[in-house]
């Protein structure tokens, strides 16, 4: 399959998460790019998955507990 060939929604959906991860080859990436420019349904789905991914990513931020801050301070004094 070449970059110029159009792909169907089913194929876009099957590869969408890998595409958002940057884990599809260049041909597939260009095909999905073009499909998302033309298909409102798949575009909405991609936007939803991106927004949900952002929320998951934010779950990796936290305020360090006071006990951890104390431990790190104590370690630094030993260094």
């Amino acid at each position: 399959m070449t970059e110029g060939e159009k792909i169907r929604c089913e194929e876009v959906i099957a590869h969408l998460l890998s595409y958002l991860d940057g884990e599809v080859d260049d041909t597939k990436r260009v095909q999905i790019d073009r499909h998302l420019e033309e298909c409102r349904g798949c575009f909405s789905r991609a936007e939803f998955e991106k927004a949900l991914r952002d929320k998951v990513r934010q779950a990796g931020d936290a305020s360090p507990s006071p006990s951890l801050q104390e431990r790190i301070k104590a370690l630094m004094k030993q260094f």
Binding site: F48, V56, A59, A62, L68
Partner: protein, 200 residues
């Protein structure tokens, strides 16, 4: 140790700057505060002892998160990270939150997926992550939170890249199912949670 006062000042400033994120990632990986604190402390000690090996100080954040990840994987190796064959091959259909939100009975809402995203709380996401089996949670944290490429995850975990793909797909499916069930229980989806069957 051969680190000098300049190294110490740099290390302390960077560690303090990144401490919240280090702790947050450790919390998501381990699922509990005590283990997360142990993991960050162990990471700090290792990073300090290896600081002389870090040639480019600009890459300190990526480097220290890699130490945290590798320390976690090393500590958990032989535990639960590699024994998920039955979970990966259980044949369950993939679950899509987006598709659930586009069922006809929900479409009278102007934009059900945006409504849900607006109402999902951080604690909902945390609960869904914490409920995942450890091997799946680890993959999601590495890819979605830490931003690792599939190949890097495969290398870190010592599994084929195909396993990373299938495990990640399954993990995201479980995560979205958990979020859907939480949303229904909380009445956030516009349906009638008490009466509907939760399965696909």
């Amino acid at each position: 140790m051969s680190n000098d006062a300049g190294d110490r000042a740099f290390f302390e400033a960077e560690t303090q700057r990144l401490l919240g994120r280090l702790y947050g990632v450790a919390l998501r990986l381990t699922g509990n505060q005590a283990d997360a604190e142990d993991l960050v402390s162990e990471t700090t000690v290792k990073a300090w002892s290896k600081l002389g090996q870090l040639q480019d100080r600009q890459s300190f954040p990526k480097w220290v998160f890699r130490i945290l990840t590798n320390t976690f994987i090393s500590n958990r190796r032989g535990a639960h990270l590699e024994c998920t064959t039955s979970l990966e091959e259980d044949g369950e259909q993939r679950f899509s939150l987006f598709e659930k939100l586009h069922q006809p009975f929900l479409l009278w809402w102007s934009n059900p997926e945006q409504e849900l995203l607006n109402k999902l709380l951080r604690e909902d996401i945390e609960r869904a992550l914490d409920d995942l089996p450890e091997s799946f949670r680890t993959i999601v944290v590495l890819v979605d939170i830490e931003g690792y490429a599939y190949g890097e995850v495969a290398e870190n975990l010592g599994v084929p890249i195909g396993t990373v793909r299938s495990r990640l797909s399954r993990a995201r499916s479980l995560l979205q199912r958990s979020l859907w069930e939480q949303a229904r229980t909380a009445g956030l989806t516009g349906g009638s949670p008490a009466k509907e069957v939760l399965h696909d």
